[in-house]
Protein backbone atom coordinates (compact mmCIF):
# COMPACT_ATOMS: atom_id res chain seq x y z
CA UNK A 1 0.00 0.00 0.00
CA UNK A 2 3.04 2.20 0.09
CA UNK A 3 2.70 2.67 -3.64
CA UNK A 4 -0.88 3.89 -3.32
CA UNK A 5 0.17 6.29 -0.58
CA UNK A 6 2.93 7.64 -2.76
CA UNK A 7 0.49 7.94 -5.66
CA UNK A 8 -1.87 10.04 -3.55
CA UNK A 9 0.69 12.19 -1.77
CA UNK A 10 2.67 12.96 -4.94
CA UNK A 11 -0.45 14.11 -6.76
CA UNK A 12 -0.17 17.88 -6.06
CA UNK A 13 3.49 17.97 -7.06
CA UNK A 14 3.08 15.90 -10.19
CA UNK A 15 -0.05 17.80 -11.23
CA UNK A 16 2.01 20.98 -11.37
CA UNK A 17 4.58 19.21 -13.50
CA UNK A 18 1.84 17.74 -15.69
CA UNK A 19 0.47 21.22 -16.38
CA UNK A 20 3.86 22.35 -17.64
CA UNK A 21 4.26 19.19 -19.73
CA UNK A 22 0.84 19.60 -21.33
CA UNK A 23 1.48 23.26 -22.11
CA UNK A 24 4.89 22.40 -23.55
CA UNK A 25 3.38 19.64 -25.68
CA UNK A 26 0.58 21.85 -26.91
CA UNK A 27 2.95 24.67 -27.86
CA UNK A 28 5.28 22.20 -29.55
CA UNK A 29 2.41 20.85 -31.60
CA UNK A 30 1.16 24.30 -32.49
CA UNK A 31 4.52 25.70 -33.59
CA UNK A 32 5.71 22.52 -35.27
CA UNK A 33 2.59 22.44 -37.46
CA UNK A 34 3.20 26.05 -38.52
CA UNK A 35 6.92 25.43 -39.09
CA UNK A 36 6.16 22.23 -41.01
CA UNK A 37 3.65 24.00 -43.27
CA UNK A 38 6.29 26.60 -44.10
CA UNK A 39 8.94 23.93 -44.71
CA UNK A 40 6.63 21.95 -46.99
CA UNK A 41 5.74 25.08 -48.94
CA UNK A 42 9.45 25.85 -49.35
CA UNK A 43 10.20 22.26 -50.28
CA UNK A 44 7.53 22.29 -53.00
CA UNK A 45 8.50 25.72 -54.26
CA UNK A 46 9.79 26.10 -57.78
CA UNK A 47 12.50 28.43 -56.46
CA UNK A 48 15.58 26.22 -56.13
CA UNK A 49 17.04 28.12 -53.17
CA UNK A 50 13.83 27.62 -51.17
CA UNK A 51 13.58 23.91 -51.77
CA UNK A 52 17.29 23.47 -51.10
CA UNK A 53 16.90 25.28 -47.77
CA UNK A 54 14.03 22.98 -46.83
CA UNK A 55 16.04 19.91 -47.75
CA UNK A 56 18.96 21.00 -45.58
CA UNK A 57 16.66 21.92 -42.70
CA UNK A 58 15.03 18.49 -42.78
CA UNK A 59 18.37 16.69 -43.01
CA UNK A 60 19.91 18.62 -40.13
CA UNK A 61 16.93 18.44 -37.81
CA UNK A 62 16.40 14.75 -38.40
CA UNK A 63 20.07 13.95 -38.14
CA UNK A 64 20.66 15.55 -34.76
CA UNK A 65 19.57 13.95 -31.47
CA UNK A 66 16.82 15.92 -29.75
CA UNK A 67 18.89 16.43 -26.64
CA UNK A 68 21.80 17.83 -28.64
CA UNK A 69 19.45 20.16 -30.50
CA UNK A 70 17.97 21.29 -27.20
CA UNK A 71 21.38 21.96 -25.66
CA UNK A 72 22.56 23.86 -28.71
CA UNK A 73 19.46 26.03 -28.67
CA UNK A 74 19.44 26.52 -24.91
CA UNK A 75 23.09 27.38 -24.45
CA UNK A 76 23.33 29.01 -27.84
CA UNK A 77 20.37 31.32 -27.39
CA UNK A 78 21.13 32.11 -23.77
CA UNK A 79 24.51 33.43 -24.83
CA UNK A 80 22.83 35.91 -27.19
CA UNK A 81 19.50 36.84 -25.64
CA UNK A 82 18.20 36.01 -22.25
CA UNK A 83 15.43 33.41 -22.58
CA UNK A 84 14.10 31.09 -19.95
CA UNK A 85 14.46 27.34 -20.12
CA UNK A 86 10.80 26.84 -20.97
CA UNK A 87 11.05 29.03 -24.07
CA UNK A 88 14.22 27.30 -25.17
CA UNK A 89 12.55 23.91 -24.72
CA UNK A 90 9.52 25.04 -26.72
CA UNK A 91 11.76 26.16 -29.58
CA UNK A 92 13.87 23.01 -29.50
CA UNK A 93 10.97 20.59 -29.34
CA UNK A 94 9.06 22.51 -32.04
CA UNK A 95 11.98 22.52 -34.44
CA UNK A 96 12.62 18.83 -33.79
CA UNK A 97 8.99 17.84 -34.29
CA UNK A 98 8.53 20.10 -37.32
CA UNK A 99 10.77 17.88 -39.46
CA UNK A 100 8.55 14.88 -38.80
CA UNK A 101 5.32 16.83 -39.18
CA UNK A 102 6.64 18.14 -42.51
CA UNK A 103 7.14 14.58 -43.74
CA UNK A 104 3.62 13.71 -42.56
CA UNK A 105 2.20 16.70 -44.45
CA UNK A 106 4.13 15.78 -47.56
CA UNK A 107 2.86 12.21 -47.57
CA UNK A 108 -0.67 13.51 -46.99
CA UNK A 109 -0.41 15.89 -49.94
CA UNK A 110 0.97 13.11 -52.12
CA UNK A 111 -1.95 10.89 -51.14
CA UNK A 112 -4.43 13.25 -52.81
CA UNK A 113 -5.16 12.02 -56.32
CA UNK A 114 -3.63 14.11 -59.10
CA UNK A 115 -7.06 14.33 -60.73
CA UNK A 116 -8.14 16.58 -57.87
CA UNK A 117 -5.46 19.10 -58.70
CA UNK A 118 -6.27 18.87 -62.41
CA UNK A 119 -9.96 19.42 -61.79
CA UNK A 120 -9.26 22.42 -59.59
CA UNK A 121 -6.71 23.97 -61.93
CA UNK A 122 -9.04 23.37 -64.89
CA UNK A 123 -11.59 25.59 -63.19
CA UNK A 124 -9.08 28.43 -63.24
CA UNK A 125 -8.11 28.09 -59.59
CA UNK A 126 -4.53 29.08 -58.79
CA UNK A 127 -1.92 26.72 -57.39
CA UNK A 128 -2.29 28.33 -53.98
CA UNK A 129 -6.09 28.18 -53.97
CA UNK A 130 -5.94 24.57 -55.12
CA UNK A 131 -3.62 23.70 -52.26
CA UNK A 132 -5.70 25.50 -49.64
CA UNK A 133 -9.21 24.62 -50.77
CA UNK A 134 -8.82 21.24 -52.45
CA UNK A 135 -5.64 19.42 -51.46
CA UNK A 136 -5.13 20.45 -47.83
CA UNK A 137 -8.64 19.57 -46.60
CA UNK A 138 -8.33 16.09 -48.12
CA UNK A 139 -4.76 15.60 -46.95
CA UNK A 140 -5.70 16.63 -43.42
CA UNK A 141 -8.02 13.66 -43.03
CA UNK A 142 -5.33 11.28 -44.11
CA UNK A 143 -2.70 12.67 -41.78
CA UNK A 144 -4.70 12.89 -38.57
CA UNK A 145 -3.62 9.46 -37.25
CA UNK A 146 0.03 10.22 -38.03
CA UNK A 147 -0.27 13.68 -36.47
CA UNK A 148 -1.73 12.25 -33.28
CA UNK A 149 1.11 9.77 -33.23
CA UNK A 150 3.59 12.62 -33.57
CA UNK A 151 1.81 14.49 -30.77
CA UNK A 152 2.24 11.45 -28.54
CA UNK A 153 5.93 11.34 -29.40
CA UNK A 154 6.24 15.06 -28.61
CA UNK A 155 4.53 14.54 -25.27
CA UNK A 156 7.06 11.89 -24.30
CA UNK A 157 9.97 13.82 -25.84
CA UNK A 158 9.12 16.77 -23.64
CA UNK A 159 10.60 14.86 -20.71
CA UNK A 160 13.98 15.76 -22.19
CA UNK A 161 13.27 19.40 -21.25
CA UNK A 162 14.10 18.41 -17.68
CA UNK A 163 17.76 18.31 -18.76
CA UNK A 164 17.68 22.06 -19.27
CA UNK A 165 15.92 22.62 -15.95
CA UNK A 166 12.33 22.95 -17.13
CA UNK A 167 10.15 22.07 -14.19
CA UNK A 168 7.89 19.68 -16.04
CA UNK A 169 6.37 16.30 -15.16
CA UNK A 170 9.49 14.21 -15.40
CA UNK A 171 11.52 16.73 -13.43
CA UNK A 172 8.90 16.59 -10.66
CA UNK A 173 9.28 12.84 -10.46
CA UNK A 174 13.04 13.21 -10.40
CA UNK A 175 12.85 15.55 -7.45
CA UNK A 176 10.44 13.30 -5.58
CA UNK A 177 12.66 10.32 -6.16
CA UNK A 178 15.76 12.16 -4.99
CA UNK A 179 14.00 13.38 -1.85
CA UNK A 180 12.62 9.96 -0.89
CA UNK A 181 15.24 7.59 -2.29
CA UNK A 182 12.44 5.67 -4.00
CA UNK A 183 13.23 6.01 -7.71
CA UNK A 184 11.24 2.94 -8.72
CA UNK A 185 8.05 4.20 -7.09
CA UNK A 186 8.10 7.70 -8.54
CA UNK A 187 9.31 6.81 -12.00
CA UNK A 188 6.59 4.16 -12.14
CA UNK A 189 4.02 6.70 -11.02
CA UNK A 190 5.15 9.30 -13.53
CA UNK A 191 5.00 6.66 -16.25
CA UNK A 192 1.36 6.11 -15.36
CA UNK A 193 0.75 9.84 -15.87
CA UNK A 194 2.25 9.75 -19.35
CA UNK A 195 0.28 6.61 -20.13
CA UNK A 196 -2.97 8.21 -19.04
CA UNK A 197 -2.44 11.28 -21.21
CA UNK A 198 -1.52 9.14 -24.21
CA UNK A 199 -4.68 7.12 -23.59
CA UNK A 200 -6.82 10.25 -23.70
CA UNK A 201 -5.10 11.47 -26.88
CA UNK A 202 -5.62 8.12 -28.60
CA UNK A 203 -9.28 8.14 -27.64
CA UNK A 204 -9.79 11.65 -28.99
CA UNK A 205 -8.07 10.85 -32.27
CA UNK A 206 -10.38 7.88 -32.72
CA UNK A 207 -13.33 10.22 -32.30
CA UNK A 208 -11.93 12.68 -34.84
CA UNK A 209 -11.30 9.93 -37.38
CA UNK A 210 -14.81 8.62 -37.00
CA UNK A 211 -16.20 12.11 -37.47
CA UNK A 212 -14.39 12.49 -40.80
CA UNK A 213 -15.34 9.00 -41.94
CA UNK A 214 -19.01 9.79 -41.49
CA UNK A 215 -18.66 12.79 -43.79
CA UNK A 216 -17.46 10.48 -46.52
Amino acid sequence: MEFLDALVTSWPTLLKGLRVTLLLTFLTLFFSVILAAIIVALKMSKVRAFSAFATVYLAVVRGVPLIALLFVIYFGIVSIVKVDAFTAATIGLSVHSSAYVAEIFRSGINSVHSGQVEASRSLGMSRAATMIRVVAPQALRVVIPALVNQAIISLKDSAVASFITVDELFMSAQRLSAATFQPLTYYAIVSLYYLAVVGVMTYLSGRVERYFKKRG
Binding site: H113, G115, Q116, E118, A119, S120, R121, S122, L123, G124, M125, S126, R127, A129, R133, V134, P137, Q138, R141, R215, G216
Partner: protein
Protein backbone atom coordinates in the same frame (compact mmCIF):
# COMPACT_ATOMS: atom_id res chain seq x y z
CA UNK B 1 -32.82 23.37 -70.75
CA UNK B 2 -33.61 26.78 -69.44
CA UNK B 3 -31.80 29.98 -69.04
CA UNK B 4 -29.53 29.76 -65.96
CA UNK B 5 -26.38 29.40 -67.92
CA UNK B 6 -26.87 29.58 -71.59
CA UNK B 7 -23.27 30.01 -72.60
CA UNK B 8 -22.52 33.58 -73.35
CA UNK B 9 -20.46 33.88 -76.44
CA UNK B 10 -18.16 36.86 -76.24
CA UNK B 11 -17.92 38.85 -79.41
CA UNK B 12 -15.36 37.29 -81.64
CA UNK B 13 -14.37 38.44 -85.10
CA UNK B 14 -16.48 36.57 -87.60
CA UNK B 15 -14.93 33.42 -88.87
CA UNK B 16 -12.33 33.22 -86.15
CA UNK B 17 -12.26 29.70 -84.80
CA UNK B 18 -12.80 29.17 -81.09
CA UNK B 19 -9.85 26.80 -80.97
CA UNK B 20 -7.01 26.82 -83.41
CA UNK B 21 -4.33 24.18 -83.07
CA UNK B 22 -1.30 24.47 -85.30
CA UNK B 23 1.50 21.95 -85.68
CA UNK B 24 0.84 20.54 -82.23
CA UNK B 25 3.41 17.97 -81.16
CA UNK B 26 3.85 16.33 -77.80
CA UNK B 27 6.40 13.82 -76.63
CA UNK B 28 6.82 12.12 -73.30
CA UNK B 29 10.50 11.34 -73.22
CA UNK B 30 11.20 9.34 -76.35
CA UNK B 31 7.63 8.48 -77.17
CA UNK B 32 5.86 10.80 -79.57
CA UNK B 33 2.19 11.10 -78.67
CA UNK B 34 1.11 13.94 -80.97
CA UNK B 35 2.84 14.52 -84.22
CA UNK B 36 2.13 17.89 -85.80
CA UNK B 37 -1.64 18.18 -85.49
CA UNK B 38 -3.58 21.02 -87.14
CA UNK B 39 -7.15 21.43 -86.02
CA UNK B 40 -9.65 24.27 -85.85
CA UNK B 41 -12.88 24.13 -83.89
CA UNK B 42 -15.48 26.72 -84.87
CA UNK B 43 -17.71 28.61 -82.47
CA UNK B 44 -20.69 26.41 -81.58
CA UNK B 45 -19.18 23.35 -83.19
CA UNK B 46 -19.20 19.91 -81.57
CA UNK B 47 -16.01 18.11 -82.51
CA UNK B 48 -15.73 14.47 -81.50
CA UNK B 49 -12.33 12.81 -81.29
CA UNK B 50 -12.28 9.08 -81.79
CA UNK B 51 -9.52 6.59 -82.34
CA UNK B 52 -7.71 3.61 -80.85
CA UNK B 53 -6.31 3.90 -77.35
CA UNK B 54 -2.89 5.47 -77.36
CA UNK B 55 -3.78 7.55 -80.39
CA UNK B 56 -3.26 10.76 -78.43
CA UNK B 57 -6.91 11.85 -78.14
CA UNK B 58 -6.79 12.65 -74.43
CA UNK B 59 -3.39 14.24 -74.73
CA UNK B 60 -4.62 16.53 -77.49
CA UNK B 61 -7.59 17.52 -75.34
CA UNK B 62 -5.35 18.16 -72.34
CA UNK B 63 -3.06 20.30 -74.47
CA UNK B 64 -5.96 22.59 -75.31
CA UNK B 65 -6.32 23.78 -71.69
CA UNK B 66 -2.66 23.46 -70.85
CA UNK B 67 -2.85 20.45 -68.55
CA UNK B 68 -0.17 19.10 -70.86
CA UNK B 69 2.44 21.32 -72.38
CA UNK B 70 3.03 21.12 -76.12
CA UNK B 71 6.51 20.17 -77.19
CA UNK B 72 6.05 22.14 -80.40
CA UNK B 73 3.27 24.05 -82.15
CA UNK B 74 0.61 26.29 -80.69
CA UNK B 75 -2.91 26.41 -79.36
CA UNK B 76 -5.04 29.53 -79.69
CA UNK B 77 -8.38 30.12 -78.03
CA UNK B 78 -10.36 32.93 -79.64
CA UNK B 79 -7.13 34.06 -81.20
CA UNK B 80 -5.25 34.25 -77.92
CA UNK B 81 -2.23 32.04 -77.87
CA UNK B 82 -1.98 29.65 -74.94
CA UNK B 83 0.83 30.56 -72.57
CA UNK B 84 2.09 28.50 -69.70
CA UNK B 85 2.61 31.24 -67.13
CA UNK B 86 0.34 30.55 -64.19
CA UNK B 87 -1.65 33.79 -64.36
CA UNK B 88 -2.27 33.41 -68.11
CA UNK B 89 -3.26 29.76 -67.69
CA UNK B 90 -5.69 30.58 -64.90
CA UNK B 91 -7.32 33.33 -66.94
CA UNK B 92 -7.72 31.05 -69.96
CA UNK B 93 -9.06 28.13 -67.92
CA UNK B 94 -11.82 30.26 -66.42
CA UNK B 95 -13.43 30.12 -69.84
CA UNK B 96 -12.62 26.53 -70.75
CA UNK B 97 -14.50 23.84 -68.85
CA UNK B 98 -13.19 20.31 -68.57
CA UNK B 99 -14.95 17.09 -67.68
CA UNK B 100 -12.84 14.07 -66.76
CA UNK B 101 -13.29 10.35 -67.18
CA UNK B 102 -13.01 9.81 -63.43
CA UNK B 103 -15.25 12.82 -62.55
CA UNK B 104 -12.72 14.22 -60.06
CA UNK B 105 -15.38 15.79 -57.87
CA UNK B 106 -14.03 17.21 -54.63
CA UNK B 107 -14.94 14.44 -52.17
CA UNK B 108 -14.86 16.67 -49.09
CA UNK B 109 -17.58 18.94 -50.49
CA UNK B 110 -21.25 18.40 -51.20
CA UNK B 111 -22.59 18.50 -54.74
CA UNK B 112 -23.63 22.12 -54.47
CA UNK B 113 -20.36 23.12 -52.79
CA UNK B 114 -18.50 21.51 -55.68
CA UNK B 115 -20.38 23.74 -58.08
CA UNK B 116 -19.92 26.83 -55.87
CA UNK B 117 -16.19 26.48 -55.27
CA UNK B 118 -14.64 28.08 -58.34
CA UNK B 119 -17.38 30.70 -58.55
CA UNK B 120 -16.32 31.96 -55.14
CA UNK B 121 -12.60 31.33 -55.39
CA UNK B 122 -12.06 32.51 -58.97
CA UNK B 123 -15.03 34.71 -59.91
CA UNK B 124 -15.30 36.14 -56.38
CA UNK B 125 -19.05 35.71 -56.31
CA UNK B 126 -20.75 35.91 -52.95
CA UNK B 127 -21.76 32.67 -51.32
CA UNK B 128 -25.42 33.47 -51.89
CA UNK B 129 -24.95 34.22 -55.60
CA UNK B 130 -22.81 31.14 -56.11
CA UNK B 131 -25.37 28.98 -54.32
CA UNK B 132 -28.22 30.31 -56.40
CA UNK B 133 -26.38 29.68 -59.63
CA UNK B 134 -25.16 26.26 -58.49
CA UNK B 135 -28.62 25.15 -57.56
CA UNK B 136 -29.97 26.29 -60.94
CA UNK B 137 -27.22 24.35 -62.70
CA UNK B 138 -27.80 21.23 -60.64
CA UNK B 139 -31.47 21.45 -61.54
CA UNK B 140 -30.46 21.79 -65.16
CA UNK B 141 -28.58 18.48 -65.01
CA UNK B 142 -31.50 16.89 -63.16
CA UNK B 143 -29.97 16.76 -59.69
CA UNK B 144 -32.04 19.30 -57.76
CA UNK B 145 -32.68 16.69 -55.07
CA UNK B 146 -29.00 15.82 -54.59
CA UNK B 147 -27.57 19.24 -53.81
CA UNK B 148 -26.54 18.36 -50.26
CA UNK B 149 -25.16 14.90 -51.07
CA UNK B 150 -21.46 14.14 -50.89
CA UNK B 151 -19.97 12.60 -54.04
CA UNK B 152 -19.50 9.25 -52.30
CA UNK B 153 -23.29 9.02 -51.98
CA UNK B 154 -23.89 9.59 -55.70
CA UNK B 155 -23.85 7.16 -58.60
CA UNK B 156 -21.22 7.56 -61.30
CA UNK B 157 -23.73 9.13 -63.66
CA UNK B 158 -24.84 11.59 -61.00
CA UNK B 159 -21.24 12.46 -60.15
CA UNK B 160 -20.47 13.15 -63.78
CA UNK B 161 -23.51 15.39 -64.09
CA UNK B 162 -22.35 17.35 -61.03
CA UNK B 163 -18.93 17.62 -62.69
CA UNK B 164 -20.57 19.07 -65.82
CA UNK B 165 -22.52 21.55 -63.70
CA UNK B 166 -19.29 22.48 -61.91
CA UNK B 167 -17.62 23.30 -65.22
CA UNK B 168 -20.67 25.20 -66.50
CA UNK B 169 -20.69 27.37 -63.38
CA UNK B 170 -17.80 29.35 -64.85
CA UNK B 171 -19.80 30.15 -68.03
CA UNK B 172 -17.22 28.52 -70.28
CA UNK B 173 -17.09 29.33 -73.96
CA UNK B 174 -15.58 25.93 -74.63
CA UNK B 175 -16.15 22.57 -72.97
CA UNK B 176 -13.67 19.70 -73.14
CA UNK B 177 -14.89 16.18 -72.39
CA UNK B 178 -12.28 13.49 -71.78
CA UNK B 179 -14.07 10.13 -72.16
CA UNK B 180 -16.87 11.32 -69.88
CA UNK B 181 -18.77 8.04 -69.95
CA UNK B 182 -15.95 5.50 -70.03
CA UNK B 183 -15.94 4.93 -66.28
CA UNK B 184 -19.71 4.53 -66.06
CA UNK B 185 -21.86 1.44 -65.78
CA UNK B 186 -23.67 0.96 -69.10
CA UNK B 187 -27.08 1.90 -67.70
CA UNK B 188 -25.74 5.26 -66.49
CA UNK B 189 -24.18 6.36 -69.77
CA UNK B 190 -27.43 7.66 -71.24
CA UNK B 191 -28.14 10.29 -68.57
CA UNK B 192 -24.72 11.88 -69.06
CA UNK B 193 -24.93 11.83 -72.85
CA UNK B 194 -28.37 13.41 -72.59
CA UNK B 195 -26.95 16.36 -70.66
CA UNK B 196 -24.18 16.72 -73.21
CA UNK B 197 -26.66 16.56 -76.06
CA UNK B 198 -28.68 19.39 -74.51
CA UNK B 199 -25.53 21.40 -74.07
CA UNK B 200 -24.70 20.95 -77.73
CA UNK B 201 -28.24 21.97 -78.70
CA UNK B 202 -27.71 25.15 -76.68
CA UNK B 203 -24.83 26.07 -78.91
CA UNK B 204 -21.92 25.21 -76.66
CA UNK B 205 -18.61 24.70 -78.40
CA UNK B 206 -17.45 21.24 -77.41
CA UNK B 207 -14.50 18.95 -78.00
CA UNK B 208 -15.35 15.43 -76.93
CA UNK B 209 -13.15 12.36 -76.67
CA UNK B 210 -15.44 9.36 -76.62
CA UNK B 211 -16.00 5.78 -77.63
CA UNK B 212 -19.75 6.32 -77.90
CA UNK B 213 -20.26 6.06 -81.65
CA UNK B 214 -23.97 6.67 -81.42
CA UNK B 215 -23.32 9.95 -79.65
CA UNK B 216 -20.74 10.88 -82.28
CA UNK B 217 -23.20 10.13 -85.04
CA UNK B 218 -26.09 12.06 -83.51
CA UNK B 219 -24.41 15.06 -81.94
CA UNK B 220 -21.08 15.67 -83.64
CA UNK B 221 -20.77 18.31 -86.31
CA UNK B 222 -17.45 16.79 -87.15
CA UNK B 223 -15.73 13.54 -86.27
CA UNK B 224 -11.95 13.47 -86.12
CA UNK B 225 -10.22 10.13 -86.15
CA UNK B 226 -6.81 10.11 -84.53
CA UNK B 227 -4.28 7.32 -84.78
CA UNK B 228 -0.60 7.21 -83.90
CA UNK B 229 -0.51 10.88 -82.98
CA UNK B 230 -1.99 12.20 -86.21
CA UNK B 231 -5.36 12.91 -87.77
CA UNK B 232 -6.16 10.12 -90.22
CA UNK B 233 -9.66 11.15 -91.15
CA UNK B 234 -12.05 13.98 -90.40
CA UNK B 235 -15.39 15.22 -91.58
CA UNK B 236 -19.10 14.83 -91.04
CA UNK B 237 -19.98 11.81 -88.90
CA UNK B 238 -21.63 9.91 -91.74
CA UNK B 239 -18.60 10.38 -93.90
CA UNK B 240 -15.99 9.35 -91.33
CA UNK B 241 -18.02 6.58 -89.71
CA UNK B 242 -19.71 5.12 -92.77
CA UNK B 243 -17.42 5.89 -95.66
CA UNK B 244 -13.90 6.20 -94.34
CA UNK B 245 -11.23 6.61 -96.96
CA UNK B 246 -8.06 5.51 -95.22
CA UNK B 247 -7.24 1.92 -94.36
CA UNK B 248 -6.32 2.94 -90.82
CA UNK B 249 -9.83 4.35 -90.30
CA UNK B 250 -11.49 1.33 -91.84
CA UNK B 251 -9.51 -1.01 -89.60
CA UNK B 252 -10.40 0.98 -86.48
CA UNK B 253 -14.10 1.15 -87.31
CA UNK B 254 -14.23 -2.57 -88.08
CA UNK B 255 -12.65 -3.20 -84.70
CA UNK B 256 -15.22 -1.25 -82.72
CA UNK B 257 -18.10 -2.75 -84.63
CA UNK B 258 -16.94 -6.27 -83.92
CA UNK B 259 -16.23 -5.32 -80.32
CA UNK B 260 -19.81 -4.10 -79.95
Amino acid sequence: MTSPSTPKTPSVPTGQPRVSIKGASKSFGDSVVLNGIDLDVEVGEVAVLIGPSGAGKSTLLRCINGLERLTAGSVEIDGVRLQYREAALNRMREHVGMVFQSFNLFPHLTAIENVMMAQMSVSKRSSADARERASALLARVGLEDKTESYPSALSGGQQQRVAIARALAMSPKLMLFDEPTSALDPELVGEVLQVMRELADDGMTMVVVTHEMRFARQVADRVILLADGGIVEEGAPEKVLDNPESDRAKAFLRQIESGG
